[in-house]
């Protein structure tokens, strides 16, 4: 088992190296010379030369990459070109906001998606199954930023039930913080819940077809006991992997949700950076996102091995 885990970790290393190369390569897509843009209107040759040395742009590309990686490994992702604040500090400021949104969204997604998937599979072909499938397809087809706009219109503008935008840290006012995040978390969680429902349904259906479920039924066990105790526990194994895969969509969805509800999180940071042409911040955010995604997937792989007795024994 340890060998399998070590193997998974080893496979993640070249992926990480390639991701870093891709992200470093992004800046090479920029049209024109970045130094001339930084030098301002005067285009003083001495300043241009100094900037070239400062950003190592006088070095060959492989050396530039090696120097960039050296900085990244030390936790130095550069500084914002606009505010000169270190990118790591900016990310550290914004990340807790997005984590709160992501955790609340996951609660919605799991709370909606897994029970709907289990019920749908248990009543295959029935009205519940059709209802759950319509919910899932609709959830996957509605753009979450539009759902956000519509909820703002109905819940905030018409009914005055929840605030339409903004963010209150939990340390300042816990209940207000939850109240402000409810709508964005639902918007983000509903789409994930829809996908989770489909995966749960599919995992449950394949488990419900197995011989041991037929045996459990033949023994006269209650339908609920068979579904929850025997089938669901075994269907959980692939669902764990799916949850890890959905983490990437959660981060991507957060970009749009934060934009609609004006939440000052990780997603808003990247969008603002894009419009301010703050490329160091864009690179930093993409790198941290990819790193989180790789680590979460690695964690899910290990968890899958630990949860699956057949893998554990090998």
């Amino acid at each position: 088992m340890l060998r399998i885990i070590a193997n998974r970790v080893l496979v993640a290393v070249p992926t990480l190296i390639l991701v870093s190369m891709l992200i470093f390569g992004l800046q090479k897509l920029l049209p024109g010379d970045p130094v001339t843009a930084l030098a301002g209107e005067d285009q003083d040759p001495q300043l241009i030369a100094a900037l070239r040395v400062k950003y190592h742009l006088d070095e060959p590309v492989p050396t530039q990459y090696a120097l960039w990686v050296k900085d990244v490994v030390r936790g130095n992702l550069g500084a914002s070109l606009r505010t000169d604040v270190p990118v790591t500090s900016l990310i550290a400021q914004k990340l807790p906001v997005t984590i709160q949104l992501a955790v609340m969204a996951m609660i919605f997604a799991i709370g909606i998606g897994i029970p709907a998937g289990v019920l749908s599979a248990a009543s295959r072909g029935g009205p519940l199954d059709y209802g759950a499938n319509i919910f899932a397809l609709s959830g996957m087809s509605i753009p979450n930023f539009w759902l956000g706009i519509m909820l703002i219109f109905i819940v905030s503008v018409r009914w005055h039930l929840l605030p339409s935008s903004g963010y209150v840290p939990p340390s300042e006012d816990f209940w207000m913080s939850i109240k402000t995040m409810l709508m964005p978390a639902f918007v983000l969680g509903a789409a994930l819940g829809a996908q989770l429902m489909r995966h749960t349904r599919s995992a449950m259906l394949s488990v419900l077809r197995t011989d041991y479920i037929r045996t459990a039924r033949a023994k006269g066990l209650l339908r609920g006991t068979v579904v929850v105790k025997h089938a669901f526990r075994n269907a959980l194994i692939p669902i764990v992997t799916v949850l890890a895969l959905l983490f990437g969509e959660l981060l991507a969805g957060a970009v749009l949700t934060e934009q609609v509800f004006t939440i000052p999180g990780f997603g808003k940071l990247i969008v603002d950076a894009v419009f301010n042409r703050d490329y160091a911040v864009v690179q930093g955010v993409v790198l941290v996102t990819a790193l989180c995604f790789i680590v979460v997937n690695l964690f899910a792989d290990v968890l899958y091995i630990l949860l699956n007795p057949r893998m554990r024994r090998s």
């Binding site: 390639l18 897509l29 397809l137 991507a252 996102t289």
Partner: protein, 295 residues
Amino acid sequence: MATPAAPVRTPAVPAALPRRKRRGLAKFMRNRAAVFGAFLVALTVIMAVFAPLLTHYDPVQASFLTVRQAPSATHWFGTDELGRDVLSRLLYGARASLLAGVVSVGIAVVIGVPLGLVAGYFGKLVDGVISRIADALLSIPFLILAIALAAFLGPSLTNAMAAIGISAMPRFVRLTRGQALAVKAEEYVEGARAIGLGHGRIIVRYILPNVLPPIIVQASLTIATAIIAEASLSFLGLGQLPPAPSWGSMLNTAKDFVSQAPWMSIFPGIAIFLAVLGFNLLGDGLRDALDPRES
């Protein structure tokens, strides 16, 4: 004197394809959800192609006498903040969405499928390198990668399509590679190799036709994802630029007028929802019809 080479008879690709196709089509037609999906897709295509015939309003020309008018007999879906007819912007906006969906998936298929075929067929080092590159691209969430690429390439519909296509490409590499790995072990491929056919011919004549059905299904589902991605990028201001109409950029403007002119938000959202739902239902129906495991 060289003896003339005996004519080489290439092994037949598994027969019964026409019958399988007919059975697949019949199965598709029996699936009401899939037929409804195909109808929604056809409706979107008709909107995009015949937009100039379906409306006489200019989608770009501002008219300050008709600013933010509610839906009426003159303007069925109302007007926007510049007095433009929302319905005509919606009809012309279908072009951007469809174009983005089809072109970006085209880019993903054209790059991803050959790479997947080569990785699956040759295996070893080639597979290792291609698979690691695909893994690296997959480890950056689809929309984040598209945003980053659109940011560095600059905002425009063309760059958004390129960004979405590159971001979707690794899905096709993975899918095709897996399918090619399974097909290359089949007897008819072994037979083709045994009579000395070149790798290129084996890949094109024997492997590609047999890996196509899941690729078609994936393409249909990815068009749905690409339409949402284009709308998302345009919503963020990184796709279609104003005043050209696109459903995402219409929603970007509409969000600031949600309390005064909700129709500006309602109709573009419904349009995206129906188009994406159409491609999702179509993809699901195709999967049920083409995948023998579903029967």
